[in-house]
């Protein structure tokens, strides 16, 4: 098949609690929060002050070092509070909605004559630029740079991930319009990744500025990083932009209507929920409004993750949906001792290794809790990362180079090609329980600060 990427290394973690194919309408959230920490490396600078009235699309804060990057309100209401943490770091902007639904109005861009400058200024002014992510580093893109290409994956292979094929077919017009808006950003192509038997792909085949690819294989096959690595790996000095499918919908919607469109559909998943499904909501909505009293157990015994279980954020029952998370996942907390747990045959324990008998049942699903299942050790076992990492890099050597803070080695070993989500499975399978994502972020931050 033309443009097909077949991934061999990887792992599908088979959890209970996949989202049922029902879309619920939006339920009002009593508060919304914008969390700057959803974007690595972002320092926010408030523009609106507590007490200010906000419309949908009103400016709330900007990037302190790049004030043209604006973050706007997903709802109309009042900025209740700017919550600060240690060293007065801004943790979140808390908004209490009203029911006026007043909306800021933007000039609609003309996609036929759109220049790069117009595209950038439209996305920045509308508050949509933060959704454009840049690789290397996995940070908000720099509006001044021109990427060699743009990648979007319409195939999420993460545990319990939403099925874009199921609900995005209703948003084709918006998506195509959105692609036309971001088209001038790059001199290269826009690459789109789809599942092998995708129905969505048909709608994009006619666009000459777009290249479509199909993907098959276990997670992280659908990660945008995997697609980049297989098609056109990032070299030192090169930049690639990535977006999430629903960001394109947002961009298209905003450009078509002239009004900021924060709406998205997220999958509500996890073994601890009575009902799973898809919910219409907007970024920053409270977890409570998404769950709607849906948690089966005592909330203290359940961890609620905004995002998937590999890369998401532990936001808790009182938290808020993150900017970039297309799902929330409720899994059991594992704060309990298990006597001789490491000696048992383990028919119900999930492991990528064959050290528990459960591997004899490849179809079985699991209810996995958050227990670390062991203690932190030096790296001992070798070859296990390679089994779940489809990239042409040596993860263990890269991680060691980062721990040693050896920037030359990090570059040589391909740190520019990966961000946390790409190595999240290595962290999952690690016998020594190494904090790979945190280490990788340290390395990326270190290189980024050295470069600037």
């Amino acid at each position: 098949m033309k443009n097909h990427i077949s991934v061999k290394q990887g792992l599908d973690i088979r959890l209970y609690g996949e989202a049922n194919k029902i879309i619920q309408n939006e339920t009002a959230s009593s508060s919304y929060a914008l969390v700057p920490d959803d974007f690595p490396g972002l320092t926010s600078k408030p523009v609106a002050q507590p007490g200010d009235t906000l419309k949908i699309g009103s400016l709330v804060f900007v990037d302190k070092y790049k004030p043209e990057i604006r973050f706007v309100s997903p709802v109309s209401g009042i900025l209740k509070d700017i919550v600060r943490g240690e060293k007065r770091k801004i943790m979140k902007y808390l908004i209490i909605p009203d029911d006026t639904n007043d909306t800021e109005v933007f000039e609609k861009p003309d996609v036929n004559t759109l220049t790069r400058e117009q595209s950038v200024s439209f996305l920045c002014n509308a508050g949509l630029w933060p959704f454009v992510t840049q690789r290397p580093y996995g940070v908000i893109a720099n509006p001044e740079t021109t990427p060699k290409s743009i990648f979007i994956s319409f195939y999420d292979t993460a545990p319990l991930a939403p099925d874009y094929e199921f609900f995005l077919k209703d948003y084709l017009q918006q998506m195509i319009h959105g692609l036309k808006i971001i088209r001038p950003l790059t001199t290269g192509k826009i690459h789109l990744g789809f599942a092998k038997n995708s129905g969505l792909i048909q709608s994009f085949l006619g666009l000459d500025f777009v290249e479509t690819h199909t993907i098959s294989g276990p997670h992280p096959a659908g990660n945008v990083g995997t697609i980049i690595n297989k098609i056109d790996p990032i070299n030192k000095g090169e930049i690639v932009f990535t977006l999430m499918p629903q960001d394109i919908v947002s961009i298209g919607n905003t450009a078509l209507s002239g009004k900021y469109s924060p709406e998205r559909i997220i999958a509500v998943t996890g073994s601890e929920l009575t009902h799973t499904g898809y919910v219409k909501t907007r970024h920053g909505a409270s977890i409570k409004s998404l769950l709607n009293g849906n948690v089966e157990h005592d909330p203290d015994a359940v961890r609620i993750v905004s995002g998937n279980v590999l890369t998401g954020t532990n936001v808790g029952y009182k938290g808020y949906l993150g900017y970039k998370h297309p799902q929330i996942t409720a899994i059991p907390e594992g704060k309990k001792y298990v006597m001789f747990g490491w000696m048992k045959p383990g028919f119900k324990k999930f492991s990528n290794s064959h050290t528990y008998f459960s591997w004899l049942f490849p179809k079985r699903r699991y209810r996995i809790d958050t227990n670390l299942n062991g203690g932190l050790r030096n790296l001992v076992v070798t070859g296990e990362y390679e089994k779940v990492c489809p990239f042409d890099i040596y993860p263990q050597y890269l991680i060691k180079a980062i721990i040693a803070k050896d920037i030359d080695k990090m570059e040589q070993l391909g740190i520019y090609e990966v961000i946390e989500e790409d190595l999240a499975l290595c962290e999952f399978v690690c016998t020594s329980k190494t904090q790979i994502q945190a280490i990788l972020r340290e390395g990326l931050d270190l290189i980024r600060s050295e470069m600037n």
Binding site: V309, K349, S353, T355, I368, T370, R377, Q412, A424
Partner: protein, 393 residues
């Protein structure tokens, strides 16, 4: 179960920082985590983790060693009574074997785990499970009559100098268990080589059947003997060598027991099939080459017999596959294993000074493993660099 947990919870504060038994906290922690998988939950990164941990990995290696250990116990007793011409019953044989082997284990575990706990305490890390495998392996590599004090010194040397000074399990360059054997081999050669040490009780000489020889098949091969015999001169069949009721180190003689262990390690995916496979290929190809070109009797023994004599298989399954000291890249593992196989045969057959090459070959390649990996990783780096230059051009 609950009561044990309660007891631990009650005792725990004493062992924590500031408690009066703080100097034992590593030991307490080791005991606690031995009994219970801790209640630690994920804080950063992935919210769920694989069920595997170091304890699981290491216990499976110990389980895989069990057949070799059990056979070794029996064989120690069997060789003893055979050398004396006594027709002993099964339990009598096992009884003698246990009498000889259990003290070795008490010493290797006492010293090995002792050193590990003390170092963990000083360096403030958790007790690493690797030492349980090392301590289990060391006696299996030795003759049953080895004096206990020698074993104690060798074990301490292996754990301390071989591992801890590099930073503990995961940081060491050479396989600690093999290092213990090498230490004894060079420090006390009289106890580690010759025709007498491989059968328990033979060195004392009393009561031994007249004309009995304790020469191992390996020594016979080195002496140019065309076929293998037991101590009384009866020919040993291939099956005899495979089952392993022959003189030798405690754990190395039974190929059957070793292969059972290998099956478990490969089934569980703990030992690298790449290392085992390439080592087999390496050894056998040199064996075939010697068969073709050979002009000495030793070079002409069939290549497959090399698997049945000496410790080729034991080294292949349990020593070369140690993930820390082997090559770490998949390509590197092939090269590493292959070269070990080649080196064993070269040392064994072509070098007159050492009858067995497994220990030295593996230790040598342990030292070279980082170099092999370096070139494998460098190839990846060069590929990336080439891509980068193409873009620039």
């Amino acid at each position: 179960m609950k009561s044990v947990r309660k007891l631990l919870d009650k005792a725990k504060p004493n062992f924590e920082s500031g408690g009066k038994l703080y100097f034992l906290h590593s030991f307490f922690d080791a005991m606690e985590t031995f009994l219970f998988v801790p209640d630690k939950v994920t804080e950063k990164g992935a919210h769920i983790r694989d069920a595997i941990d170091m304890k699981r990995t290491m216990i499976l290696v110990v389980v895989a060693l069990m057949p070799a250990f059990l056979f070794g116990v029996w064989n120690t007793g069997f060789q003893f009574y055979f050398s004396r011409g006594i027709d002993a019953g099964f339990w009598q044989i096992v009884g003698y074997g246990l009498k000889m082997v259990i003290p070795l284990y008490l010493v290797s575990y006492g010293v090995g785990v002792g050193v590990e706990v003390i170092v963990a305490q000083i360096r403030k890390h958790e007790v690493n499970e690797g030492v349980f495998v090392t301590s289990f392996l060391i006696p299996l590599l030795l003759p049953a009559d080895i004096p206990l004090w020698m074993l104690a010194v060798a074990t301490a040397f292996a754990v301390l100098i071989g591992k801890e000074i590099f930073g503990g399990t995961g940081m060491n360059i050479m396989n600690p268990a093999l290092l213990a054997r090498a230490f004894l081999f060079f420090a006390y050669p009289a106890w580690m080589s010759g025709d007498k040490v491989w059968v328990s009780g033979l060195t004392q000489g009393e009561g031994v059947v007249d004309g009995f020889t304790g020469a191992t098949p390996l020594a016979q091969a080195a002496a140019g003997s065309p076929h293998f015999t037991d101590g009384l001169g009866n020919t040993l069949s291939t099956m005899d060598l495979f089952i392993g009721a022959i003189p030798g180190s405690i754990g190395e003689t039974s190929k059957l027991a070793i292969l059972l262990g290998a099956a478990l390690l490969l089934f569980a995916g703990i030992a690298s099939w790449r290392v085992m496979f390439s080592m087999l290929i390496g050894g056998m190809s040199v064996g075939i080459l010697m068969n073709v070109l050979g002009n000495t009797p030793y070079m002409q023994i069939p290549f497959y017999d090399h698997l049945l004599i000496g410790s080729f298989l034991f080294g292949m399954v349990f020593m070369a596959t140690d993930p820390v000291t082997a090559a770490q890249t998949n390509t590197g593992k092939f090269i590493y294993g292959f070269l070990i196989g080649v080196m064993i045969m070269v040392i064994r057959v072509l070098n007159p000074a050492y009858p067995e090459g497994t220990m030295l070959a593996i230790l040598l390649m342990n030292v070279f493993a980082p170099l092999i990996d370096h070139y494998v990783v460098q190839a990846n780096i060069s590929k990336r660099l080439k891509r980068f230059k193409q873009i620039k051009a």
